[in-house]
Amino acid sequence: MPVRRTLRVVRRYWRVLVRWFQHYTAPARRAWRRSLQIRVVSLTLVASSLLVGTFGWFIADRSAEILLSRTKDEVSSSLNGKVAYAYKQLTVHPLARDPELPNTIAATVNDLFDGDPAEDGGSVISIRAANHPDLGAVTLPNVDTRQLVTPEMVRAVAESGSVAQQIRTAEIDGQTVKYLVYGSPVQTKFGHVELYYMVPLTTEDRTANQIRTTVLATGIALVFLLGVVAGLVTRLVVNPVRVAARTAQRLSAGLLDQRMKVTGEDDLALLAAAFNQMAANLQRQIVRLEEMSRLQRRFTSDVSHELRTPLTTVRMAADLIFSERDSFEPAVARSAELLQAELDRFEDLLTDLLEISRFDAGFAALDAEHTDLLPIVQRVAERLTGLADRAGVELDLRLPEAPVIAEIDPRRVERVLRNLVGNAIEHAEGKPVVITVATDEAAVAITVRDYGIGLKPGEERLVFNRFWRADPSRARQTGGTGLGLSISVEDARLHGGWLEAWGAPGEGAQFRLTLPVRAGDRLVAAPLPLIPRDRPAATGEPAEVS
């Protein structure tokens, strides 16, 4: 249990830490994600730091090694000379107890001592005999060499009888100096004594440090300059790209006459030129298409208007014939009836076409006023009761008790509702149609639900297309013009509302009209779901048309 609790605590702190980290690094990460320049400069800095660091380290290390090995060679050869000299000097003493021997050792050390003590410590020479403790160590200059000549060194030289070297740092006369210590046995007739030659590495150390500092400074400067160069070069490339991006954004925002400045003849200039070319072509195409669309709409509107006049004449004639039908032969009477019906349809079609062309031409205007929606819904239901009765469909109204006041155009909303309910009755296949109204502070929603054949996936959007039919082979029974939903969508859009459809095969369909309570408000949510609650789970993608 405590383990789990601890783990939980740890996890919590970890999360806090991660969140904290993410919070503080968020600007940097954003900058990293967004700026190509920062990425390039950073990568250049990292890569060049690694490279320069590696090479710098290599150079500094090598030069220190070369310095040291040169000194070692010098000291070694000097030591050999000194050992040879000391050997010769000590050949005259066959016995260690020779009273003259200490004098000889002292004189030999004196002869071997080279150089005056420099300010950074001179070399130190020492002869001692570890195997003959009676012979004291003779050291010149007389400094304490215990820090320099270590017991390991003495062991290597005095016991193993080999030439050995070691680097030691010791404090001599209050100065901390790095020494290269060489030791060699000197053969004598009474065994051997040891010669230690200690050379300060001050000069070499200083040189190595200078090299290191130089390499470091050069490396840092190099990395910095590389960063600057990378930044500059990237800017050279990124700046035109940014300009291009901005221009493209403006273009897409509709400012079709935006162009890039073309300077020089390089790749970027080529890009700018191509971009400008593309923009020009695009502009030309769009203008042409707009013109074509305008012409088409004009044509539709003109055709509708032009057709109205002859249609009125035809209508009057048809009315006359229709009123006189009883006097005709039944077959002719039947034709007169057909003519009357088709003329009604034709008139509706023309009305819808004119309505559509008004929308297309942007002449549609919202005549908004504070209106209670419920009477409109009820009126639509009443008017369509006959149709519903004929289709054997029951209309189920689910309305709130309080009035639903919204700033709407009641004529347009009624037309939309009529359209929706009519469609629902038409496709209900005898099952009930449910009309629900709900509201909140911001929006009003009306759904129309049927349980008929439903919609196939993808048809949620197609239903709003002009002259679209779910089954083209199906005969027109209700005599719809095929423009109803298109007009309804335009009406909803005019209100700043949504008209959306949902449907599933065999499960029926639901249409939802959402309107803002105050005209001109922006909708964010609807008080009713698009996918009906009586369906187990939402499977299909809700279609949204705004």
Binding site: A28, A31, V41, S42, L45, V46, S49, L50, V52, G53, T54, G56, W57, A60, A64, S76, V83, A84, Y85, Y87, K88, Q89, T91, V92, H93, P94, L95, D98, P99, T104, A107, T108, D111, T150, M153, A156, V157, G161, S162, V163, A164, Q165, Q166, I167, R168, T169, K178, S184, P185, Q187, K189, L201, E204, D205, R212, V215, L216, G219, I220, V223
Partner: protein
């Protein structure tokens, strides 16, 4: 992210760079094996252990050991002597560093039951650090009282009281020291002059060259100073002289050892001086390195010629004066030859004579006549030719035996001979003329004998029955004598002296009431093994043919002397030279004529 990366990367770079450079500490790295063991000289002649306080409980022997203790290393002599003493005596024992060399004139008076021992002694001199035995300025015979006691709780004997001197007996000097002759050039740079030093026998052989070199650098013995040339001012050895290795002796001297002017001649002189001085230890090659110049190698016997004593033959040509004529003695070389240099017509009425040679000439000096007709005639001639003898004037009557001191090569100018006339010393040249008196500085006694060493500079004199040594210095009008130094041989009433080698003298005088001829070293300290007891006669004249230094024999095989007019050879005993010893004895020897005044062609 990027903002944080730059310092991090820099830190890594700094860290990496900080890692390189020269480390502060490393472990011990064995570079290689040490130099191989040098050639061991092999002659690991461990010296005879020195007698210490605990060596004996015999008081007489203990005293003898005590008188030996100062022998050996000079600097530690005092410590060795203190080793024989009780602690209280050792604490207050503050002697002069030079040991006094004494000759016991009697056995130490060890009395049973008494701690005090009386030593009767004769002071010979003091032995310096440079191996020079300086004779005592004044003769001194006296007694030392030494207390030999036992200390409770400690074994053995102790010296409880002793004079505040380092004492060294003459027997210890002979036993514990070896005589070494080193050489200096005479002031004319014509020949080397020997200088006798004493080297401790326990000094390792390897150190001998070094010791000798230091002696040379330290300069000659005081009595030779006027006659020889010291090494150039500032001459010093560069380090020690290493032991001989591969038949090669390396000597490094600083640049001052050879003056810039006449460097080649100076170097040649220096190497001859070194070769002669180091002759006993000299291997095949002498390598001489002056300053930082290239080492020069010397070999071969060329250097021998620089020592005049090297001309001495193993068998001398011997002469006597018989019946007023110079005659050869048999059993000497060239005994069929005529007398060199002296023309036959001049060979008459001769009393005493001297013959000497250089590499080119024979020098002759003849004293003839008695009383008013007494005359010294001298001459020189190239080998094989008779000389024209010239009279030397200005000499008082009572002339003794002439002797040639300096015999130049090539020409006779500058030759110096000496003669004692009426107890005074005179010098003469090879071309006659006036004899020059040679004053004896500080001395007023009668000079009774003079002998010149083969080098022609050192002389031994007998003045007033005492033995002196001095050197001849060349002056504008002949020669002068340096301050004579009295020697203290174990003889009284000395009458005659002669050089028997470079460093030894034959001296005739009274010894315990009887006349004897003994060999003493040039400083009077040591004496030869075979004193010749003569009895009651007075040795008027003593001559010897010195040995060649190469023979390493310091006792001459050719010593002759006269008692009255009778001439004697020193063989095993004194043997008179008779007529039958002449190379061409006369068929009818005149009665009452005996060979006298023996001399050698030196």
């Amino acid at each position: 992210m990027t903002r944080h990366r730059l310092p991090a990367v820099t830190a890594v770079v700094v860290l990496l760079l900080g890692g390189c450079g020269i480390p502060d500490e490393t472990g011990v790295t064995e570079v290689g094996s040490g130099p191989s063991t040098g050639v061991s000289s092999g002659d690991n002649d461990t010296p005879v252990p020195e007698a210490t306080r605990g060596t004996t409980k015999d008081r007489t022997q203990f005293i003898a050991n005590y008188l030996e203790a100062a022998a050996g290393d000079f600097d530690t002599a005092s410590e060795r002597v203190k080793g024989f003493m009780t602690q209280s005596l050792a604490d207050r024992f503050k002697p002069a560093p030079q040991p006094r060399v004494i000759r016991l004139t009697d056995e130490p008076s060890v009395t049973v039951g008494q701690e005090k021992v009386e030593l009767s002694y004769e002071l010979i001199g003091t032995l310096g650090k440079n191996g020079v035995l300086e004779p005592a300025a004044e003769p001194l015979r006296s007694n030392y009282d030494i207390t030999v006691a036992e200390v409770a709780g400690e074994p053995g004997l102790f010296i409880a009281d002793a004079p505040n001197f380092l004492l060294l007996s003459d027997t210890a000097l002979a036993e514990k020291y070896e005589e070494r002759t080193i050489y200096f050039w005479n002031t004319e740079r014509t020949a080397l002059v020997p200088d006798v030093r004493y080297m401790p026998r326990n000094l390792p052989r390897e150190q001998e060259p070094n010791t000798i070199l230091n002696w040379l650098i330290g300069g000659p013995a005081p009595w030779l100073r006027n006659a020889v040339e010291v090494l150039p001012e500032g001459t010093a050895a560069e380090g020690k002289v290493p032991a001989i290795d591969g038949g090669r002796l390396q000597i490094n001297l600083n640049a001052q050892a050879v003056p810039a002017k006449g460097a080649a001649e100076a170097l040649d002189r220096l190497r001859r001086q070194l070769q002669w001085s180091l002759r006993r230890v000299l291997p095949q090659y002498l390598e001489l390195k002056i300053g930082h110049e290239e080492a020069v190698e010397f070999t071969g016997p060329e250097y021998y010629s620089s020592n005049l004593a090297n001309r001495l033959a193993s068998r001398p040509e011997r002469f006597v004066v018989y019946d007023g004529k110079i005659a050869r003695v048999s059993e000497s070389t060239n005994d069929e030859e005529p007398i060199p240099a002296i023309p036959a017509e001049a060979n008459k009425d001769v009393r005493t004579a001297a013959l000497d040679t250089s590499t080119t000439h024979t020098y002759a000096a003849v004293v003839s006549g008695v009383g008013r007709s007494e005359a010294l005639r001298v001459g020189a001639a190239p080998f094989g030719q008779p000389a024209e003898l010239q009279v030397v004037s200005g000499l008082p009557a009572g002339r003794g035996h002439p002797v040639w001191a300096i015999t130049p090569d090539g020409e006779t100018e500058g030759a110096v001979g000496l003669i004692i006339a009426n107890g005074r010393l005179y010098s003469f040249g090879a071309r006659g003329g006036k004899a020059q008196p040679v004053p004896l500085p500080g001395g007023s006694g009668k000079i009774s004998a003079v002998s010149v060493a083969p080098d022609g500079r050192r002389v031994a004199l007998v003045v007033g029955g005492r033995l002196y040594r001095a050197v001849l210095t060349i002056t504008g009008d002949g020669v002068a004598l340096s301050d004579p130094e009295q020697l203290h041989p174990p003889l009284d009433n000395i009458t005659a002296v002669a050089f028997s080698s470079e460093s030894w003298l034959n001296v005739a005088g009274a010894r315990r009431g009887r006349v004897s001829i003994i060999q003493v070293s040039i400083d009077g300290a040591r004496q030869g093994p075979r004193p010749l007891d003569i009895g009651n006669g007075v040795v008027d004249y003593l001559t010897a043919y010195p040995t060649n230094p190469q023979s390493d024999e310091y006792q001459s095989a050719a010593v002759s002397f006269t008692i009255g007019t009778a001439a004697y050879d020193v063989l095993l005993n004194a043997t008179q030279i008779g007529v039958n010893n002449l190379a061409r004895p006369p068929a009818q020897p005149p009665a009452g004529k005996i060979p006298t005044a023996p001399f050698f062609l030196s």
